[in-house]
Structure formats: structure tokens, C-alpha cells
Amino acid sequence: DARVTQTPRHKVTEMGQEVTMRCQPILGHNTVFWYRQTMMQGLELLAYFRNRAPLDDSGMPKDRFSAEMPDATLATLKIQPSEPRDSAVYFCASGLGPGELFFGEGSRLTVL
């Protein structure tokens, strides 16, 4: 049963610490998205990759966030340094071209 796998599921950290979230997209999918979900803002697109190349990261605060796909089986989202306002659920999703996206279960981040 193919699915998107995200780690960690939960992370509590202190302000200023580095946080790395990982995502394993579904094998064969060529698009990977990172979204952030909060009650106030809803689902915000942070970064978008196609065939491992970054296409859109305009929604991501560049000074502290970075997103990469070192290979086709791994996407990472890094926050350094983390701030309390980064507390949210971060979702990774993968898909094939312009169509249905498959979401992971999310990484719930709490920055104290």
C-alpha cells in the first residue's frame, strides 16, 4: 500500500534550535509539495518540486527555511533557527503531474 511517509510525527523544540522534517514520497511520483497548516492561515504552500527541481518556494521564509530533494526518495524541510511562530503541522504531498495529491500524516511542530 503506497503512501507518503513523514518523520517525525511530533517534534517539540526550543526557540533557536534547528528542525529537520523528512518526507519519503510515493515511488514513481514526480511532484513533491510542502504545506504548512495552522488554524489562522489554513494550508499554505511552502515549496514545490517537480522531478526533484524546485519550481516554487515563494511561500517559504527564505531567511530560515530551506527545502531540498537530495534524491527521488527523500525530501527535506529545514528550519534554522526555529521560532514559536513556526509551530504548525507540516505536510508533505506527492503526485504525478497536475492531478491528485497524496498527503502524508504530517509533522506536528511545537517551538517553545
Partner: protein, 112 residues
């Protein structure tokens, strides 16, 4: 700005009743999708309707699309307690990189 604004934001109905949600968007689209999110889980794709389609059915789901009004509706017939969830519409803009932009979601509670 976010594409996709669902209306109403919250809906509470009795089991067996129908639930209707609406979504409006701002720019031309390739397709519009509806997703469901159960509490604490990732989003799950429900249905995709292309810009040249006006109506689509999938089981108890019926989606309509009116591109002249830039709006869509999702109807869930004969609702069940298991349909309790948040429902999101997402648009794939025809100009851009096929990024999916999500609305803020409708919370639906089905009372047994």
C-alpha cells in the same frame, strides 16, 4: 492570495441528511479538486473535476463546477457519522506551475 474559499465554514447536520459546501476561486483553472481531512490526519483526495466538465459523481459525492462564476460545490448525500471531517477545495491555476492552492476548509459534523 489563496485560491479557493469555501462557504459555509462550518456545518452540522443529522445523519442521513445531505451536506452541501461551496467554493469560489479567483483565476482561471485547469482543474478543481476536493479533499477531506479527518482530525489529526493528512488530507485525502476525494474527486477532481476538470475545467471543461460541469458535473462529476463519485459514490455519494457530487461535484459541480461553474467556470463562469468561478465556483464549485460539493454535495454529500445521505451523510454518515464517518463523513465528519474538514473538506477543502483546491485549485490548479491554468497559469503557473500546476501548484495546488487550498481554501481554508469547511468543517462538517454529522450527528448520529
Amino acid at each position: 492570495s489563496q485560491q479557493g474559499e469555501e462557504d459555509p465554514q462550518a456545518l452540522s447536520i443529522q445523519e442521513g441528511e445531505n451536506a452541501t459546501m461551496n467554493c469560489s476561486y479567483k483565476t482561471s483553472i485547469n482543474n478543481l479538486q476536493w479533499y477531506r481531512q479527518n482530525s489529526g490526519r493528512g488530507l485525502v483526495h476525494l474527486i477532481l473535476i476538470r475545467s471543461n466538465e460541469r458535473e462529476k459523481h463519485s459514490g455519494r459525492l457530487r461535484v459541480t463546477l461553474d467556470t463562469s462564476k468561478k465556483s464549485s460545490s460539493l454535495l454529500i448525500t445521505a451523510s454518515r457519522a464517518a463523513d465528519t471531517a474538514s473538506y477543502f477545495c483546491a485549485t490548479d491555476a491554468s497559469v503557473g506551475n500546476n501548484r495546488l492552492a487550498f481554501g481554508k476548509g469547511n468543517q462538517v459534523v454529522v450527528i448520529p
